[in-house]
Every structure is written in structure tokens, then in C-alpha cells.
């Protein structure tokens, strides 16, 4: 299975400076992150809020500039390409966001976005047909959608329209930032199943960003777990989620409320009062909560290959 690498993120770092002239705080929202996405692959970037995953997405989409690092898309430097030829990048890399009601302007009819995307991004003249096809792919028709405002749809329908819009230009990479977290639990699977179908039928790659490990397990091929701006574990979704190696991954997996009354949480856990401190740690950022911490964890942690995946932890080096 020799798939081509579609997107390569190399040593990506983004530092935000907050505060005024008198008290500056520098937060490393993304710290030296590297990963690849293959063609026809669903790759999950998982983590809680504040892990940096949305920042990575915004940089890939060209909405934020990185402090350092490279993004290589189809062999070319993406940040350079975005400055020179935004349009062709937009055709190939599209996105779907978390809140379907915010994705569209509440005062504009939704079909306008479909038409604009088709026209602006140079779909061939018969854009009506292209739009109808994209809507059919997500289980809707033009008549379902035309002349309606966002408030007339349910969250699930809007999210599907948002996905249809992103497919109009026949993209190769779809960045999906928490696409189902605001959709009712009973409707989530239809959207997640859609991603799997698109991967199989049109070879779409998806960068699936989420904190919901259960859907990540269900739909993705590989996964990277992010914590405070760093990737702490990365590998095939089977290995990482059924047999986690990094203490944080283990904690995440344990904390998921299983929809099975026979499996209840047994251990007690600690949560932090102040989150800022963790960002400033020089060594392993998880040190204050890790049950296995050692003295050497205060130093920057190397990436180690363990059992077919990459783990950032001194336990294994």
C-alpha cells in the first residue's frame, strides 16, 4: 500500500504573545509539530481544548502565519503557494467547521455560498449540476436547500450543506474541525459515515480534528494525540487507542464515559486548577499530572518509536 504523501507538516511552531507592553506572556500554542497525511487517508488530530489542534488547522488553511516550520503540500511549500496563488490552494484544500449555525451568515440564504464557491473557484460553467451532485453526495437536493436561511435548517442538515460546499471544487484535502461535536449524538454517525464514504469513493483525505476519541476510532486510519501544543503519541488508530502508551493518551481514553453501564470509572483523577503553568513547562508538559513522572522529565522529551508508533515519553527511551 504505497500511498503518496499528500501533506507534510514539518516542525511547525506558533507562538502567541499576549498582554501589553508591561506584561507579556508568550504561549507556544504549537510547539515543533510534525506529521504527514497520505492520499485517501483519514488522519485524526486529537486533543482537548488548548491543545493547539485548531491553531494547526488555521495555519494549514492559511488563516494564520506560523512562527516557524514548513508545510509541504503535494511537494510544494504551501505557505509560499498561499501567498502567490491562493485560488488554486483553495480549490484543493477546503474546510468544515464546528458550529454549523455559525458557518453561514444568519442573514444570508445558504444557497448563495454554494453558488459563490462554484463561481469564484472556477468550477466549469455548468455549476448548477456540480452543486446538485455535491448535495446528493450528502443526502440532500437543491430544492431542499434553495431560498432558505440557516435558521430554517437543523444543525445536522447545515453541517451536511457545509460539507457539500467544501466538496464543490473537488478538493483533495478536507480539514474538518470538530465537525460533529455540535451535532446531536444520534445524528453524528451519518456525518462520520459520510467521511468514510468520501474517502472510499473519491479518494478524499480528511484531517479530522476532534476531542471525541470514539468517533476518531470509528472513522480514522491514523491518529496523533496533542497535548499543550505538542504531539505526544502518533500511530495507527487501532494501536494508539486500544493500547495507548503515553500516560496522557491513557488518561484520555480512560476518561471517556463509555455508553455501557457495566463499565464504570474506577480510579479517581486529579484536575489542574491553573492551566497556564503547563504551557510554560520546559520539559514534558504533562509532568504535573503524570503518575509515572521522573526527574529527567523536566528536560525536553525526545520522540521514541515504540511498537509501530511514535511516543514522546521518557518511559520508553
Amino acid at each position: 500500500m504505497n500511498k503518496e504523501i499528500l501533506l507534510r507538516v514539518e516542525n511547525l511552531t506558533k507562538i502567541f504573545t499576549l498582554g501589553s507592553v508591561f506584561s507579556r506572556v508568550r504561549i507556544r500554542a504549537v510547539n515543533n509539530v510534525s506529521f504527514n497525511i497520505d492520499e485517501s487517508e483519514i488522519f485524526t488530530l486529537a486533543g482537548e481544548s488548548g491543545s493547539g489542534k485548531t491553531t494547526v488547522a488555521k495555519i494549514i488553511l492559511g488563516f494564520l502565519e506560523p512562527t516557524s516550520g514548513k508545510i509541504i503540500y503535494k511537494g510544494k511549500d504551501m505557505i509560499e503557494s498561499q501567498k502567490e496563488d491562493k485560488r488554486s490552494i483553495r480549490k484543493e484544500v477546503q474546510a468544515v467547521f464546528q458550529n454549523p449555525f455559525e458557518t453561514f451568515n444568519p442573514l444570508r440564504m445558504v444557497h448563495n455560498y454554494l453558488i459563490e464557491t462554484a463561481k469564484n473557484l472556477g468550477v466549469n460553467n455548468n455549476y448548477q449540476e456540480v452543486i446538485e451532485n455535491a448535495l446528493n453526495l450528502v443526502g440532500l437536493t437543491w430544492n431542499d436547500v434553495v431560498n432558505k436561511y440557516p435558521s430554517e435548517f437543523s444543525g445536522g442538515q447545515l453541517q451536511r450543506i457545509s460539507i457539500a460546499r467544501s466538496l464543490l471544487t473537488n478538493p483533495t484535502l478536507l480539514v474538518a474541525d470538530e465537525p460533529v461535536s455540535m451535532v446531536d449524538a444520534s445524528l453524528r454517525m451519518s456525518i462520520v459515515n459520510l467521511f468514510a464514504k468520501l474517502k472510499k469513493e473519491i479518494g478524499l483525505s480528511v484531517l479530522y480534528i476532534t476531542h471525541d476519541l470514539a468517533t476518531a476510532y470509528y472513522v480514522s486510519d491514523r491518529i496523533a494525540i496533542m497535548f499543550r501544543g505538542e504531539i505526544v503519541e502518533m500511530g495507527s488508530v487501532d494501536k494508539v487507542l486500544t493500547d495507548p502508551k503515553h500516560p496522557y493518551t491513557m488518561l484520555l481514553k480512560e476518561s471517556i464515559p463509555e455508553p455501557d453501564p457495566k463499565k464504570k470509572w474506577t480510579k479517581d483523577i486529579k484536575i489542574l486548577t491553573l492551566e497556564e503553568e503547563e504551557y510554560q513547562m520546559k520539559g514534558c508538559k504533562f509532568i504535573s499530572r503524570c503518575p509515572y513522572r521522573m526527574d529527567k522529565c523536566k528536560n525536553p522529551v525526545p520522540d521514541v518509536e515504540v511498537d509501530g508508533r511514535v511516543v514522546k515519553c521518557y518511559l520508553y527511551s
Binding site: 482537548e48 481544548s49 437543523s154 444543525g155 445536522g156 442538515q157 446531536d184 449524538a185 444520534s186 445524528l187 453524528r188 454517525m189 451519518s190 462520520v192 459515515n193 476531542h211 476519541l213 470514539a214 468517533t215 476510532y217 470509528y218 487507542l241 486500544t242 488518561l251 484520555l252 481514553k253 480512560e254 476518561s255 471517556i256 464515559p257 463509555e258 455508553p259 455501557d260 453501564p261 457495566k262 463499565k263 464504570k264 470509572w265 479517581d268 483523577i269 486529579k270 484536575i271 489542574l272 486548577t273 491553573l274 492551566e275
Partner: protein, 329 residues
């Protein structure tokens, strides 16, 4: 023993939009009975009316929400009191008999004062707190019981993480040992790890105080973890109610089956299906059984008549014509 009862409860939002009167039937003929020493879960999608139901059970009914019919009883001192005819005295039992943790309760704390001040504000309006030093000790003991660090009392809300704020809010809601705690999506806005801490905290509190918690959340995983009984709500009505294990192992109502069947689990890659269609509007709900447009087993009767909640066995109730027919046979 029962501690809270709702009979034929109907609460609608009466809205005047563009000159016409619309009623949003968020709570439509609800009959439930909640016992002491249990965690009663209410589950359902967004827009099914569960938040409204819980506000009504708490007595927080302000326009445009109106109680159109029905009664809610609390059992106080072995007497059943209808809370809607209590007028002034309902205020006085709040917080020490029944307390409420609202959705997004992280904003319940006053952002410009220290946590301890918020405590004085809340407690002071119900109990005489002239003896602050004894009360401070009580609060610190309460925090210790809940596993919260006491240094938090002297911090400002913005200095705490979201999960910690939520736990402080829960501590606030339980300081006067209420008999009933009503929690509306207490862990929904939190990260997975913080969520677990909050849910475990609620369970600890219930275990030690042996009181009642009414927990509203759409997350079935949370219900599986702590609820003793679950009521499934759909479009303003309760469609099924049973002990937690029954609901997960033997769901009867077609909607419940979809709900349970659509839950992904780690280690399980089998194909999951969602319920088709979308939940109905509460202004103009479908006739008859409100789920019939999406139900694969809908019969003619379902389009016309509204199924009542009937007992399938002593603990399990369901509102579906599939089961009333079986009983008749």
C-alpha cells in the same frame, strides 16, 4: 419513597412574533415520579424540551414560559406541596431543599470577586451568616469532602480552569445539603478529563448525602456512568423510562434503539446508523406519535393517536403502540 412528582405537566413558551401568537410546546403532558436517594437521568437531543422540563421542575417559570396545565409536587416534611401554589415560600426552600446547576454554570460565579465572596452571597441569602468564621470552616470542610483544594476560595474565577470552576459551582450548590439537586448539562462544555472529574464529583456527593440528583444531558455515556434510572425525552414528551441497565440492554422505543445504536465505542468498528430525518419543531409537532415520521415501524394508528406511557414491567415504561398492542393480546 417519592420526593418529587410531576402530574400532567404542560409548560409552553408563548411567543408573539410578527403579531401572531405561537406556542412552543416544550413540555407536553409529562408524568414522572422521582425517588429519594437516586440519580434520575433525563436524556434527549437538543430541542427536545429537557432543559425546559428541568426549569419547570425547579419552579423557575418566567414569561414567555408558562405552565399551562399540571402540577409539580415536592415532598417536604412528609407532605406533598404543589410548588405552583406556594408563591413566596418557594424562594425560601431554594438552595437548602432544592438547588439548581444551570447549563453553562461556569458563569454563575461573580467574576469580579473572590470565590469565597460568591459563597457568602449565596449562603447569606438563605441562612444567617453573622458567624463567618464557623461558616468558613464549614465551607472548607465541604471542599475537603469534595476533594477540592481550599486555596481556591481566595482566587478569582478567571484564574481557575473551566473544570475547576464547574466543580466550585457544584460545591456552591451543595453546601446547604439540599435534598434535590437539579443539574442541566453540568459537564457538556468541558474537556473529557474535566468532565469525568465533574461527573465523579456528583456521584460522590450523592453517595455521601444520599439525596436525589436529577441530571439532564444528551450524552448517553454520562448516563451510563452515574444515572440509576433514565427517562428518554423526544419532542416535549417522555417516550421511555427505565433503570439504566434496562435502557442499554433492552431498549424498547424505536427512538431509544436509534439512540443506543448510534453510539461509537473504542474497539468496535461495526457500522453504526443514525436516526433518519431530524427532530420536529415544537411549534408544529407531528400529529399522533411525534416520532412517527422517522420511525421505521410506524403504523396507521401512530399517525393519529398519541401513545401513553404504559408499564411494560414494574420498572420499565414506554410510550409506543408497538407495546400496547402486545399487552392487549
Amino acid at each position: 419513597m417519592e420526593i418529587l412528582k410531576a402530574e400532567n405537566l404542560k409548560a409552553y413558551y408563548l411567543l408573539d412574533i410578527g403579531g401572531k401568537l405561537h406556542s412552543v410546546r416544550a413540555v407536553d403532558n409529562i408524568n414522572i415520579s422521582i425517588k429519594e436517594d437516586e440519580i434520575y437521568g433525563i436524556a434527549g437531543e437538543s430541542g427536545c424540551g429537557k432543559s425546559t422540563l428541568i426549569k419547570t421542575l425547579y419552579g423557575m417559570v418566567e414569561p414567555p414560559l408558562n405552565v399551562v396545565d399540571g402540577k409539580v409536587y415536592y415532598r417536604i416534611d412528609n407532605e406533598y406541596k404543589n410548588i405552583f401554589s406556594m408563591n413566596g415560600s418557594l424562594e425560601s426552600i431554594r438552595w437548602n431543599y432544592i438547588s439548581y446547576i444551570p447549563q453553562g454554570s461556569m458563569s454563575v460565579l461573580n467574576p469580579v470577586v473572590k470565590i469565597i465572596e460568591s459563597f457568602w452571597d449565596f449562603i447569606g441569602s438563605h441562612v444567617d451568616i453573622s458567624d463567618k468564621s464557623t461558616w468558613r470552616k464549614n465551607i472548607e470542610e465541604h471542599f475537603a469532602l469534595l476533594g477540592l483544594p481550599t486555596k481556591v476560595l481566595d482566587a478569582y474565577p478567571h484564574q481557575l480552569s473551566g473544570g475547576m470552576r464547574q466543580r466550585v459551582t457544584i460545591a456552591l450548590a451543595t453546601i446547604l445539603n439540599p435534598k434535590i439537586i437539579v443539574a442541566d448539562e453540568p459537564s457538556t462544555a468541558l474537556d473529557v478529563v474535566a468532565q469525568r472529574a465533574v461527573i465523579q464529583l456528583l456521584k460522590e456527593i450523592q453517595k455521601s448525602l444520599k439525596n436525589t440528583i436529577i441530571l439532564v444531558t444528551h450524552d448517553m455515556g454520562v448516563h451510563a456512568s452515574i444515572s440509576d434510572r433514565i427517562a428518554i425525552m423526544y419532542a416535549g414528551k417522555i417516550v421511555e423510562e427505565a433503570p439504566t441497565s434496562e435502557i442499554f440492554e433492552n431498549p424498547l422505543h424505536p427512538y431509544t434503539k436509534y439512540l443506543i445504536g448510534a453510539l461509537p465505542k473504542i474497539g468496535d468498528k461495526s457500522y453504526k446508523v443514525s436516526a433518519p430525518g431530524a427532530p420536529p419543531s415544537l411549534i408544529n409537532p407531528p400529529s399522533g406519535c411525534r416520532f412517527h415520521p422517522r420511525c421505521s415501524q410506524a403504523m396507521e394508528e401512530c399517525k393519529v393517536n398519541v401513545p401513553e406511557l404504559i408499564n411494560v414491567n414494574s420498572e420499565h415504561r414506554v410510550a409506543c403502540f408497538l407495546y400496547s398492542k402486545e399487552r392487549e393480546l
